[in-house]
């Protein structure tokens, strides 16, 4: 169990930060004690990131004070923060893929410490072993799994005399096994008196790990609690407010006729870091949601691109409702009832600098929005307004640039834009990744409603809980190969974990034949 001390390490009072058009932080008070694992919870846009950036010195507050170990300080920048003993692991890593682990770490150290690479490698080994995060300092970063890359980031923080470690959604990229390892490390750190600020959307993780929590909503603190003493439901309630329905159990279905059939699909990507797909077989029935679990970079992107028509398979066959679509262009597939929500929202699913009206046209043009090469803008506007209204997209108006929306709101817009095309087959990549609880509930609801209308849906996700919640059949992808797919309630979490790690070869041939 973690050490409980009452020594105050960090005290924020009245922190306020205003951006044009929004007050990201509004008089926030936060107290983190030594050895405390403190969760910072809130929906997207609640102000968590801004607060973290203020503590790490990236952003300066407009008002308020920061007390560090009892003394008031002005944190002038990340270097100053590190000097004080504050380390931060961002959601997106800042590592050079072509350099080794030790070289990457040396880059962030003061010059005098990084001169002796031998000694540095030795220290990296010692520290990583001490905290149970095996790391080889001589490995090149691009050969590491995402989990190992995260360990590099953490070790980089631990090399200095660290007193507060900030982690921004650290588990969103990890397998369940890697999450367990990470938590073990964090508990060791806490027992040694390091304070941890833990940002997450996943309440079960917070209740497992943290012994204090602060909840933000709209830039204000709306509650604080000890997650050990309250239920996940209580916390969720504080996050979303009183009027949003929380978790819901959706009924599983068997589905109808086969809608999407993929046979012996083979693909070799031009990108040297891409994943080859070898003889994939997959059937999706109308009226069912099929979930594909897997750690990022195991061929999900390639499979989605082949289904959407952005890439064309080398061999094999894809058919939708009996029509072969293997070589059709994306627009032709859409006309046959295909829709796709890509993983990247900004910069693929939506054009950042274009308005929501223009972004509606990106994939929905075949819904009567254009005629003989001319665009009917009044219909496009109606389409956008309908999506904004129906999916509760928060935006200035329909002419707002896509990049001005928060991640969750943009995702609601994209999902809405695709679903309103009334597709026969919807492929969704990471539908609720990094999206706040309120938006995630709405999105899952919309997917279930679409399923109940008889559409076939494929959900590719790393969020296992979500897959279990909404999918009727589930399987995994690993290293460009698909595991068997079975009814969700027949697949235990351990089995799925094994499949995600690629341990399904022996059954695979037989299962594929049955599918």
């Amino acid at each position: 169990m973690t050490l409980q001390t009452s020594t105050e390490r960090l005290l924020l009072s009245g922190i306020t930060k205003e951006y044009p058009g929004c007050r990201a932080n509004d008089a926030i008070d936060l107290r983190v004690n030594a050895g405390e694992t403190h969760a910072l919870l809130g929906e997207n846009g609640a102000g968590k990131s801004t607060l973290m950036k203020i503590i790490y010195g990236v952003v300066r507050p407009d008002a308020g004070t920061i007390c560090w170990q009892g003394k008031e300080v002005q944190i002038t920048g990340p270097a100053h923060a590190r000097q004080l003993g504050i380390g931060m692991v961002f959601q997106h890593f800042s590592l050079f893929e072509t350099l080794t682990v030790a070289e990457n770490i040396a880059l962030s150290l003061p010059p005098q410490e990084s001169k002796d690479m031998e000694a540095l490698s030795q220290r990296i080994r010692e520290i990583s072993e001490h905290y149970g995060m095996a790391l080889d300092p001589d490995r090149h970063v691009h050969t590491l799994s995402v989990g190992a890359q995260q360990r590099v980031e953490i070790v980089r923080c631990l090399l200095q005399d660290i007193k507060l470690l900030i982690l921004d959604e650290p588990t969103s990229v990890l397998t369940p096994q890697e999450v367990t390892d990470l938590f073990r490390t964090l508990k060791t750190l806490a027992s040694e008196g390091v304070s941890i600020l833990f940002i997450s959307h996943k309440l079960d993780e917070v209740t497992e790990l943290c012994n204090a929590a602060t909840i933000l909503r709209n830039g204000q603190v709306t509650g604080s609690c000890n997650p050990q003493e309250v239920t996940g439901e209580d916390i969720a309630r504080m996050m979303v407010g009183d009027d949003t329905p929380l978790n819901q159990d959706y009924e599983k279905t068997e589905g109808g006729d086969i809608s999407l059939a993929v046979e012996a699909l083979t693909f070799r990507p031009e990108d040297p870091f891409g994943v080859s797909l070898e003889g994939l077989n997959l059937n999706v029935r109308s009226g069912e949601i099929l979930g594909i679990a897997g750690v990022a970079g195991n061929g999900q992107d390639e499979l989605c691109a082949l289904l959407s028509g952005e890439e064309i398979a080398e061999s094999g066959r894809i058919s939708l409702l009996g029509d072969e679509i293997t070589r059709l262009l994306p627009e032709a597939r859409r006309e046959k009832g295909f829709a796709f929500v890509p993983e990247e929202r900004l910069g693929r699913g939506a054009v950042p600098n274009m308005s929501l009206v223009d972004n509606s046209l990106l994939s929905a043009s075949h819904r009567g929005l254009k005629k003989k090469g001319w665009i009917n803008y009044s219909k496009v506007r109606d389409y956008a307004l309908n999506v904004i209204d129906k999916y509760n997209v928060k935006c200035a108006n329909e002419d707002a640039q896509a990049k001005s929306l928060s991640g969750g709101n943009l995702q609601k817009f994209i999902i809405g834009r695709e679903i309103e095309q009334q597709p026969k087959l919807l492929v969704c990549s990471h539908p609720t990744w990094g999206v706040d609880i309120g938006a995630a509930i709405l999105i899952r609801h919309a997917l279930i409603a679409l399923r109940d209308q008889g559409a076939a849906i494929v959900v590719v996700s790393e969020d296992i809980d979500e897959l279990y919640q909404i999918c009727d059949r589930i399987g995994a992808i690993c290293d460009g190969k698909l595991s068997p797919f079975k009814a969700t309630n027949e697949v235990g979490i351990e089995t799925l974990g094994r499949w995600m790690a690629g341990q399904f070869e022996e059954h695979h041939a037989a299962e594929a034949a049955n599918a």
């Binding site: 044009p20 262009l329 994306p330 597939r333 693929r348 699913g349 950042p352 046209l361």
Partner: protein
């Protein structure tokens, strides 16, 4: 300490204000320059920007220069919307003049103005072909269009020099590197015999409206826009970027070619080595100064046309070098690009703290 902070959404006000800032900054720098050269800045600026437009003749001369600028700028707008950085309007302009001029020289005793139709088409086709080379290099070999179009400009210029020193040289022209004068029927009709202004300004206005409509309302215009903003989104939507690259480069080539052939069948009336004072390059500035908006492009074309006339005026009246034209154009672009930073960012004042 001044610091740049990213705006949440691009500032629409700054997008329109930035050209104004650039023009004001250019005028200030220009004044300092004149002062440094030992001239009264007020008088010099007056000579540069006001004197050329003090009579009807001045305005008609302005129109002659606005026409090629607008044509080239509309073609470039298409390219830049798609983020195809075509610097080659100058070469396409020259090829249009050369191809059209060659055609005109085949009809030296023409009497009907219908002869203009094949001449103009030949000019457009030549420019289009020149744009097509860049498109081929881009789509087939992935060659950077900035480099290829600049190189093609020099090739076009040297082709022109070779032609006027060789095959197109007027046999009875006392060995001057010029072609014969075109037949009167092969010249663009004038509005009024006292002025040089011809119907090329109508071509310019026509294509201004056509390209604007295409960009604002057509599906292909939308595709071009998406491709320029976000290549991955264009791929997601299924737009064919190779086809779009061909479309914009060919269209720009044809428009610049029309501008070129209109120049030789207009004010010049023959093929000469100095066909263009740099319309193709100035049009690049027009596009950015005009915010890729048709009204803006028309106004910016007038300003840039004025810099050509102002340069000549200060040369005549104050014996200052004509290259001041290029200097003013350069300063405009320089200040514009700098001011454009303020569209996406804002300047905030942050008091420096005592701690480093």
């Amino acid at each position: 300490m001044l610091k740049l902070e990213k705006r949440q959404s691009d500032s629409r006000l700054m997008a329109y204000l930035s050209p104004v800032i650039a023009i004001v900054a250019t005028l200030i720098s220009g004044s300092l320059l004149f002062l440094f050269l030992g001239h009264n800045p007020g008088e010099a600026l007056h000579t540069f920007f006001i004197t050329p437009l003090q009579d009807v003749y001045g305005w008609t001369e302005l129109g002659i220069k606005v026409a090629p600028l607008v044509l080239c700028a509309m073609g470039l707008t298409l390219c830049y919307r798609a983020q195809i950085w075509n610097i080659g309007a100058e070469g396409q302009f020259i090829m249009g003049a050369l191809g059209g001029g060659y055609c005109a020289l085949q009809f030296l005793d023409a009497e009907s103005s219908w002869v203009l139709v094949p001449i103009l088409l030949a000019g457009m086709a030549s420019g289009l072909a020149w744009g097509g080379i860049a498109a081929l290099l881009k789509t087939r070999f992935n060659a950077n269009e900035i480099l290829t179009t600049i190189m093609l400009n020099y090739i076009a210029l040297n082709l022109l020099l070779w032609a006027v020193h060789g095959p197109l040289k007027d046999p009875s022209g006392f060995n001057f590197p010029e072609s014969a004068m075109f037949a009167d029927a092969a010249l663009l009709p004038l509005f009024n015999e006292s002025y040089r202004l011809n119907i090329s300004i109508l071509f310019a206005l026509f294509f201004l409206v056509v390209i604007w409509t295409l960009m604002a309302r057509s599906w292909v215009g939308y595709q071009i826009h998406v491709m320029g903003e976000d290549a991955k989104a264009a791929k997601y939507a299924g737009f064919n970027s190779k086809v779009l690259t061909w479309v914009v480069l060919l269209a720009c080539g044809a428009l610049a070619g029309l501008a070129g052939v209109s120049e030789v069948t207009g004010p010049i009336g023959q093929v000469v080595p100095q066909l263009s004072p740099g319309y193709g390059y100035a049009a690049i500035i027009v596009v950015f100064l005009g915010r890729m908006h048709p009204v803006g492009i028309l106004l910016a074309s007038m300003l840039l046309a004025l810099t050509f006339m102002g340069g000549e005026m200060v040369q005549i009246q104050m014996s200052l070098p004509k290259s001041l034209t290029g200097l003013f154009q350069g300063m405009l672009l320089f200040f514009l690009l700098a001011a454009d930073l303020l569209i996406g960012y804002r300047v905030v004042f942050q008091p420096t703290s005592s701690r480093a």
